[in-house]
């Protein structure tokens, strides 16, 4: 009974895009992008964002994206030129390269703040624009300072521990062992600061978003992801042992060779198997752990965000669900040489919307726009090319 009462107040997110329709837009985007050597990609981005925003509805009102292809293109040209100059200049001299890296690091908080602002001001819900009021100085704390100190400590523990071990000091093992809990406890703290910076500085018109999620909720997500990672590695280890002991043959050699130093003097089959095994266990499991962590943190963020002091949200994505979608989407896209990508994207968007809700609050009629210049799309272009995910979290 409680359940149904709670459901009455839910405002489900509804994604109405269709794979068929998106396929046509996507393939035309692709063709024009290729034919124009990437220039059309700016307009393609606008059409893509518009399609996904427009098709996301809450109570019959949808989102919209307002940037123009020209704005995106100018930002991208500036960034591509900057990257080319940076690459060329840093291949000249290692000290110059070091200096340039310093300059880029200095600019990252500025880029992040600009990207968030541009994207927010170019997005709207129900005829009301979003806004972002975070400053580069504030962005520097979660995006540069905290990660820098954390990484330095982590590497210090790993290499310091390795050095101690190499000199026969058993305390080194302890240092190395400490490095891993460090990740589980420190990374969520940094991530929480990033999310607070992003959410607390967003506005819908004049209404402010605020995130109240505590530190331990983020640690909990990291713990679950780490636990799944360990279980997955243990499971794949068991499968390998089973294959080698019960089936034997080529698999018997596999287990003994994994972890051995790869020398080219052995035959290439050994090299290939070791290469693939390292890739699979080391790489994919960490990608999946990161994916699951992000899904769980999305739940935490949505469930503890309030808009305008009265509108709440709910997200109930499950680790298993997102894992399944990622795996099957991947297989479908690879097996069709990319042709199923639009279908995969629609499927993911539908899944996300199906697990997102607005909760209670008053009428959605009450939001009011404020006017503001969005500025240049330089930060936005930077985040596109560097693959940073800085969009609206819808």
């Amino acid at each position: 009974m409680n359940d149904s009462a709670a459901h009455d107040k839910l405002r489900p997110f509804d994604f109405r895009g269709s794979a068929k329709e998106w396929f046509g837009i996507w393939i035309v985007n692709l063709l024009l992008t290729i034919c124009t050597f990437g220039i059309y990609s700016a307009w393609a981005k606008v059409r893509r964002k518009k399609y996904f925003y427009n098709n996301t509805y809450v109570e019959g009102r949808n989102f919209d994206y307002h940037a123009t292809g020209k704005q995106i293109l100018i930002g991208r040209i500036l960034i591509v030129v900057a990257i080319a100059v940076f690459q060329l200049a840093s291949s000249l001299n290692q000290w110059l390269a070091l200096g340039l890296v310093g300059i880029v690091i200095f600019f990252i908080p500025w880029m992040v703040a600009r990207a968030l602002m541009f994207n927010a001001r170019m997005s709207s819900f129900s005829n009301v624009r979003f806004d972002f009021v975070g400053t580069p100085t504030r962005a520097a704390i979660p995006f540069i300072l905290l990660p820098f100190f954390a990484l330095a400590t982590f590497l210090g523990l790993i290499f310091g521990g390795g050095y101690q071990l190499a000199n026969g000091e058993p305390i080194g093992a302890l240092l190395i062992l400490l490095a891993f809990p460090f990740v589980v406890f420190i990374y969520p703290a940094i991530d929480r600061q990033m999310k607070r910076f992003s959410v607390n500085n967003h506005r819908l018109g004049t209404a402010e978003f605020s995130l109240s999620a505590g530190y331990w909720l983020f640690v909990g997500a990291a713990f679950k992801a780490a636990l799944l990672l360990i279980l997955f590695i243990a499971f794949s280890g068991l499968v390998l042992v089973f294959l080698s002991q019960v089936i034997g043959g080529p698999f018997a050699a596999f287990v003994t060779e994994v972890g051995d130093e790869i020398t080219l003097e052995e035959n290439w089959w050994v090299f290939l198997r070791n290469y693939l095994a390292t890739l699979f266990v080391g790489y994919f499991t960490s990608v999946f752990a990161a994916l699951i962590y992000q899904a769980l943190v999305r739940n935490v963020v949505y469930n503890h965000t309030i808009l305008g002091g009265e509108f709440r949200f709910r997200s109930d994505i499950s680790a298993g669900g997102i894992f399944w979608i990622a795996i099957t989407n991947f297989v479908a896209v690879v097996a069709t040489l990319g042709l199923m990508l639009p279908w995969a994207q629609i499927r993911l968007a539908k899944y996300m919307a199906d697990h997102t809700f607005g909760v209670a609050g008053g009428s959605l009629d009450r939001f009011v726009s404020v006017q503001g210049e969005a500025g240049m799309a330089v930060g936005d272009a930077y985040s596109d090319i560097e693959g940073l995910d800085l969009g609206l979290p819808i």
């Binding site: 990437g38 399609y51 427009n54 001299n93 110059l96 009301v128 035959n267 290939l272 991947f330 995969a344």
Partner: protein, 353 residues
């Protein structure tokens, strides 16, 4: 004088600069004067006028899929409607109407898919080379010189020690190098050939070339392969890398591919992004193997012209092949030694013809 029969479209609207939503009608009052701009009124359920504007001041969003068309008034009021045809009648065809038509789900899309495949192939086969050649032509010789200096600094800092070869040993190899240089047909602008020796125990017997013309040979190489013919053809191979601009090509090519993949693929979602970049790495390896084969051909030819025995490179790879197995080709920057011996045999036969 206003016309008596106003045309109208029904839909939904939002009040200016607000999320307030209401059922609305768009009423068009056409002027009797055919040249004048029509006036449009946005009215609510009660028939009251919320907003007014002339047609040319209203921003009409381009059609996208089956999305309702959106019309924005100068004051920030927004009207949306599914009556696509009426919007088209009143506001005229959109500039991007052809795009919308092209995007519709239709057998024509099969042709577009094929065109995409063909275009990707064209870019991979020719377009990249054109972009890379353009970038190389634009690179000032001074920059290339500096790349040599910078890379050498980094190598000396990280893995090389000063050479321990005797003066005679160095002089002998330098002499071979000097004999080769006059036989190079065309030297790219700003290339300054120089031969340097370094002791690199971690790297073993090896030689490499930097884009500006610096060729580095390890002490370990000179010790293990002291024969003149081998030294000449391996130095010729490295000179080939410089003359054919292989180093610069690889730098520019990976940079261009990276940017194109980022722009063309867009947001691919989790997992796929990582795989695309891994794939890019495998492709660049194949490109590097083509360069090795091309430099082999160059080295054999140059050694031959300078009066050395062109079989030197072959005997070098035959000895390399005996030292042990190798990774499969597609995982390596270099073709395996057996294949290289076979193709070198071909190059030598070409010389004899």
């Amino acid at each position: 004088m206003d016309c008596i029969l106003p045309d109208q479209i029904s839909g939904r609207a939002y009040a200016p600069m607000s999320s307030h939503q209401f059922q609305a009608k768009l009423v068009i009052r056409s002027k009797s004067d055919p040249g004048a701009d029509n006036t449009v009124e946005l009215t609510n359920e009660a028939g009251a006028i919320v907003s007014t504007a002339v047609v040319s001041d209203i921003k009409v969003e381009a059609p996208l899929g089956k999305q309702p068309r959106r019309l924005t008034f100068p004051d920030g009021a927004m009207f949306e409607t599914g009556a696509h045809q009426k919007v088209e009648q009143l506001f005229g065809k959109d500039r991007l109407g052809w795009l919308h038509k092209l995007e519709a789900f239709h057998p024509r899309l099969i042709g577009i898919v094929l065109a995409c495949g063909f275009a990707v192939w064209l870019i991979y086969r020719f377009g990249l080379d054109v972009l890379v050649a353009g970038a190389i032509a634009l690179t000032p010789p001074l920059v290339v010189e500096q790349i040599d200096r910078g890379t050498l600094q980094a190598i000396d800092f990280q893995m090389a020690k000063p050479s321990t070869l005797s003066a005679e040993e160095k002089a002998r190899v330098e002499d071979i190098f000097a004999k080769l240089l006059p036989h190079i047909a065309t030297v790219p602008d700003g290339t300054g050939f120089q031969l340097l020796f370094r002791s690199m125990p971690g790297v073993g017997p090896n030689a490499f070339a930097l884009p500006g013309g610096t060729v580095v040979m390890t002490d370990q190489f000179v010790k293990k392969f002291p024969e003149d013919d081998i030294l000449a053809s391996v130095l010729g191979h490295e000179i080939g890398h410089v003359v054919e601009r292989h180093g610069l090509r690889q730098v520019y090519r990976s940079l261009t591919t990276y940017i194109l993949v980022a722009l063309i693929a867009g947001e691919t979602g989790p997992l796929l992004e990582d795989v695309l970049l891994e794939g890019n790495l495998l492709l660049s390896l194949s490109y590097s193997r083509q360069h090795e084969t091309s430099a082999d051909r160059f080295g054999v030819g140059l050694a031959n012209r300078a009066g050395f025995n062109p079989n030197g490179l072959r005997s070098f790879f035959e000895r390399m092949a005996k030292t042990g197995g190798q990774p499969p080709q597609w995982l390596s920057t270099h073709p395996n030694s057996k294949d290289r011996v076979t193709s070198i045999n071909g190059f030598i036969q070409e010389l004899n013809r």
